[in-house]
């Protein structure tokens, strides 16, 4: 029975079907990207298990097909694999592919991508995420602002309860909109939210309505506080002598150091405004380190698992602002390792075959 299942699972027809299915999905995803952009294409096809098209027809996403392919690969290696000298290459190729698939799947959950935009002379120790939003609460008491807590809004739903025990604060989610428009008498006070369908390109403006209960310092309640991602100022509510502030902002990533942009340089090709190169001189510092680094296109700066890349710049009046993307990826080595194994396997196998062929011809 087990053998029969194994034989079916290891069928080369499954391999080819899966590979061709991947082929079609990549074609589809590429055209999808032309219409809706890379973010939507990733979410819909490249990094999905299933997706619905033409109204109701479900299609397997690339994740599903790759999982099937991996099972097929493992089954066939269990079934036919007996190690010998000639098969070393084939073994390495497939081992590399398995490491690539497993490693990439695992890495995807660990990678943290964010960006930092700085004017010359500015510094920061937080980076922001482009598509992720969070709600954050602060308390201002006797002129001192304390951080109560933060919560990413992805996965948030109506009726959720957030408790910040140390501060005696209990927050109840009354309404949550993944994408909405805020209305108010002026841009700083939003009085109502109107839900919108989510944007395919991922540029959504979420909004949330919360009820806040204060259990310490005599207690109190904010019956209804509206937090909208489109307004830059926090919502404020007075609690006796204290003030409570809430904001819905782009998710922040705390960096283990402060980054300061010392100087941004853009060099053009002579006589044109087309950039030949651009680079940022930054200083990073915390209690233990204090060093300068020069970042330019193709020359990133690495610190432990964090890498800074020069990705863009913008002119803000007289001043130039530099945009650095920050990637924290502890599994960065996976694609390197796996593709090197695959290539070694390929070379070993086909050089051996070629050698045999030439000997036969001669």
């Amino acid at each position: 029975m087990f053998k029969k299942v194994l034989r079916t699972a290891a069928s080369i027809k499954i391999t080819i079907t899966c590979v061709l299915a991947l082929f079609l999905l990549v074609v589809w995803g590429t055209f999808y990207q032309v219409d809706y952009g890379i973010y939507a294409a990733q979410k819909h096809i490249f990094a999905s298990w299933f997706f619905i098209e033409f109204g109701f027809i479900p299609f397997p996403g690339i994740k599903t097909v790759i999982t099937l392919l991996t099972i097929n690969l493992l089954a066939s290696s269990l079934r036919v694999f007996n190690f010998n000298f000639r098969k070393t290459g084939i073994f390495l190729i497939h081992l590399g592919v398995i490491i690539l698939i497993a490693g990439s799947g695992f890495a995807a959950s660990l990678v943290n991508e964010s960006t930092v935009s700085l004017l010359e002379g500015e510094n920061t120790s937080v980076a922001t995420k482009q598509y992720d939003w969070e709600i954050a609460f602060f308390r201002k008491s006797k002129g001192i602002i304390t951080n109560i807590g933060r919560k990413n809004v992805s996965g948030l739903k109506k009726g959720d309860n957030l408790e910040f025990k140390d501060y005696g604060i209990n927050i109840n989610i009354l309404e949550f909109y993944a994408n909405c428009t805020g209305y108010g008498t002026n841009p700083h006070t939003i009085e109502s939210l109107l839900s919108k369908p989510p944007e395919k390109n991922g540029r959504n403006f979420p909004g949330v309505v919360v009820n806040i209960q204060n259990k310490l310092n005599g207690g109190g309640e904010v019956p209804r506080m509206i937090l909208f991602s489109g307004s830059e100022a926090p919502a404020i509510f007075a609690f006796g002598s204290d003030t409570l502030m809430g904001i819905l902002q782009q998710a922040q990533v705390l960096l283990p150091f402060t980054v300061k942009l010392e100087k941004f340089t853009k060099i053009d090709h002579p006589g044109t405004r087309e950039a030949k190169s651009y680079q940022s001189l930054i200083t990073i510092s915390n209690n233990t380190i204090n060093r300068e680094a020069l970042i330019s296109m193709n020359r990133p700066f690495r610190y432990k698992t964090i890498t800074f890349y020069q990705t863009g710049f913008s002119q803000q009046g007289e001043a130039m602002s530099s945009t650095l993307s920050v990637v924290d990826n502890p599994m960065r080595f996976v694609p390197y390792l796996s593709s090197i194994i695959v290539i070694l396997g390929l070379l070993y196998h086909y050089i051996l075959s070629f050698y045999t062929y030439i000997k036969k011809v001669k």
Partner: protein, 639 residues
């Protein structure tokens, strides 16, 4: 026929071909660019700064003529001869048919009778400039994705006319301008210029001291109660200022600015400095002398003036601006190595057809000799480009075709050396010819020696990633071509497979694997580069997806073969599809216009690509149909 006879004949043929080649090279290398009985060769050494690159005027002229007319010559005159008449004596060039307008509707709309040769003169088109402007103004207000081919061509024509006007007015400061005529007798006398005579801007410069004095006087008065002469002077000064301001930043930029030498200017940008005498005996004066000599046909005066101009303009700054001597590039332009190589491959292709069909036995040796000659010239061309630009062999779409052509020619030679007689040179000749021909289409975009955008500024990754990817393309293309040959032979012979065909099939497989491996290596290098530059190894960019499709197809193909799911013709058809995917990724992905590989966004070749893909589909379908028929026959009629 004795052995010696054969050898003698072969060496005579080889010697003849070599003589033709050497004759060509030496004749183009020593061509004298003659016009008005005067050689303008020297002019080609002047340096022009355009799109960030310092190039010889020789290259600039060729690019401009190519851009305007799609040709390398106009009415028998070389690009350099043409540009010198546009610059030095525009009236004589205005009637040359240099502007290509493909769409006859454009000519009709401009009130010009369409010509079969599709080329029109400046005078004709400039006569309709108002209509062109009208249509262009309306067009630019709409989104560029909605432009029709008619509107695109109008915009292109307007742009070309504008650039021609810039060239044409290189020396217009010497032309009499009615606009600058002096209408006040007192002022005329003061400046020493006759009344109602149309002076040139240059004439007025000689009176610039007096004009300046007059202006100071007006300034002192504060603009109150000006005399008629003073009003005229004020207007004149205003007009001089306007005209200089209009002209000074126009191309061609041939002189480095003294204050910030990374910015260059045209003659107009410097002529104003003569006012202060700061530029006495220098760049502008030398060019004026060269123009006089040109108009009068004085060869040695012309050469001396240009020589002097080059020495006093570029020599002092050549180190700091890294201006290299343009001779190599001019020689490269003259020899035009890739055009010549293409012709050699074309002849070799005809010979290899004769060889494959065993119609003429000598054809094989001569063809092989030509291929080797071609590859030598091809390689020299690639090396010359690397030296001129100081960068790796492949940096833009044009160069990917040049390089892939080279790689597939070399693959063919290797194939030939492992005894797949005649088919190797057939492959070399055909792919070499076709890809050099395709590359030629891209020269119409302008300078093929362009500067790199910031993201490509990494010699290491450019070399490793793009060269390996191009080798991968070459392998797939080689396999695809051989697959066509294999399938055609199968149809023609209608008999069971012979030994030679078996060899051909293993060659197809071998080249496919070669392409597969290099596509993987190239894609991995690309991933590493992306990880270095953008922070991710893989990002589903269209070009990355294209490479992935080639790889996935390779995986399906190889498993299909090892699992015995694909027969002989399955392997051949798989190789053809592999080649289609390569063409789609190579040219097609750029047509999508999105993604990070923006070095190659262009719509050149869109319909050729679709034609090619349609051809392949028809080929594969009709092959499947015909081979079934022939195999049935050969089964039912036992031999």
């Amino acid at each position: 026929m004795g052995y010696w006879d054969l050898k003698k004949k072969l060496s005579i043929i080889a010697a003849l071909i070599l003589a033709v080649v050497l004759g060509y090279v030496s004749s183009v290398a020593g061509t004298h660019e003659k016009t008005r009985g005067l050689s303008v060769e020297k002019l080609g050494e002047i340096i022009v700064l355009e799109n960030g690159r310092k190039k010889p005027l020789d290259t600039y002229a060729r690019n401009k003529l190519m851009q305007f007319s799609g040709r390398q010559k106009v009415a028998g005159a070389s690009a350099l001869e043409w540009i010198s008449s546009v610059m030095f004596h525009p009236q004589s060039a205005d009637d040359d048919l240099v502007f290509i307008v493909n769409n006859p509707d454009v000519a009709n709309a401009l009130g010009i009778l369409p010509r079969a040769k599709r080329r029109y003169s400046f005078r004709e088109l400039y006569g309709a400039i108002n209509r062109i402007e009208d249509i262009a103004q309306k067009t630019v207000q709409t989104s560029s994705s909605e432009w029709t081919s008619f509107e695109r061509e109008i915009l292109q024509t307007r742009n070309n006319l504008e650039e021609y006007l810039f060239l044409r007015s290189t020396f217009s400061f010497l032309d009499p301008q009615e606009y600058l005529a002096i209408t006040d007798s007192v002022l005329a006398e003061q400046l020493g210029i006759p009344m109602h005579f149309s002076p040139s801007y240059f004439n007025l410069l000689s009176s610039s001291k007096k004009i300046a004095e007059g202006m100071r006087e007006i300034q002192r008065k504060g603009g109150d109660s000006l005399s008629p002469g003073e009003s005229v002077l004020l207007e004149l000064a205003k007009r001089m200022y306007e005209i200089e301001n209009d002209m000074k930043s126009n191309p061609p930029h041939i002189i480095p600015l003294e204050t910030s030498p990374e910015r260059w200017g045209s003659l107009w940008g410097y002529v104003g400095k003569l006012r202060t005498g700061a530029l006495n005996d220098s760049s502008v004066n030398m060019m004026i002398k060269a123009r006089d000599a040109y108009l009068n046909g004085y060869q040695s005066a012309f050469d001396n003036a240009i020589d002097h101009f080059i020495r006093c303009t570029y020599l002092p700054v050549s180190k700091s601006l890294s201006i290299s001597r343009p001779q190599l590039e001019i020689l490269y332009n003259r020899i035009n190595p890739f055009l010549f190589t293409k012709i050699i491959y074309g002849i070799a292709f005809l010979l290899s057809l004769l060889a494959v069909s065993s119609l003429w036995k000598r054809a094989y040796s001569v063809g092989l000799f030509l291929i080797i000659l071609g590859v030598v010239l091809h390689t020299s061309g690639i090396i010359a480009r690397m030296i001129i630009m100081h960068h790796p062999p492949v940096t833009n779409l044009y160069e990917t075709f040049i390089f892939t052509a080279w790689a597939s020619v070399v693959l063919g030679i290797i194939l030939e050396s492992i005894k797949i007689r005649s088919f190797g040179i057939l492959l070399s000749a055909l792919t070499g010819f076709l890809f050099l021909h395709i590359a030629g289409r891209y020269t119409k975009d302008g300078d093929t020696l362009g500067m790199l955008s910031a993201v490509l500024d990494s010699s290491f990754w450019l070399t490793t990633h793009i060269v390996t990817i191009s080798l991968g393309y070459a392998g797939h293309v080689g396999a695809g071509f051989m697959a066509h040959v294999y399938m055609l032979i199968a149809l023609i012979k209608k008999r069971s497979v012979d030994d030679n065909q078996e060899k051909l099939l293993s060659a197809i497989y071998g080249m496919f694997v070669f392409g597969f491996i290099f596509t993987i290596i190239g894609t991995v290098f690309g991933g590493m580069w992306a990880d270095q530059a953008w922070g991710r190894f893989w990002g589903w960019d269209p070009k990355e997806n294209g490479a992935l499709l080639i790889i996935l197809w390779g995986v399906a193909f190889l498993h299909g073969k090892s699992g015995r799911l694909a027969g002989r013709y399955g392997i051949a058809a798989g190789a053809v599809i592999g080649m289609m995917l390569v063409m789609l990724t190579w040219v097609g992905v750029n047509l999508l216009g999105i993604g990070l590989h923006s070095y190659g966004f262009t719509s050149v070749g869109a319909h050729y690509l679709f034609l090619y893909l349609a051809f392949e589909i028809v080929f594969l379908v009709s092959f499947a149909f015909l081979i079934k028929k022939t195999e049935k026959k050969s089964v039912s009629v036992p031999s």
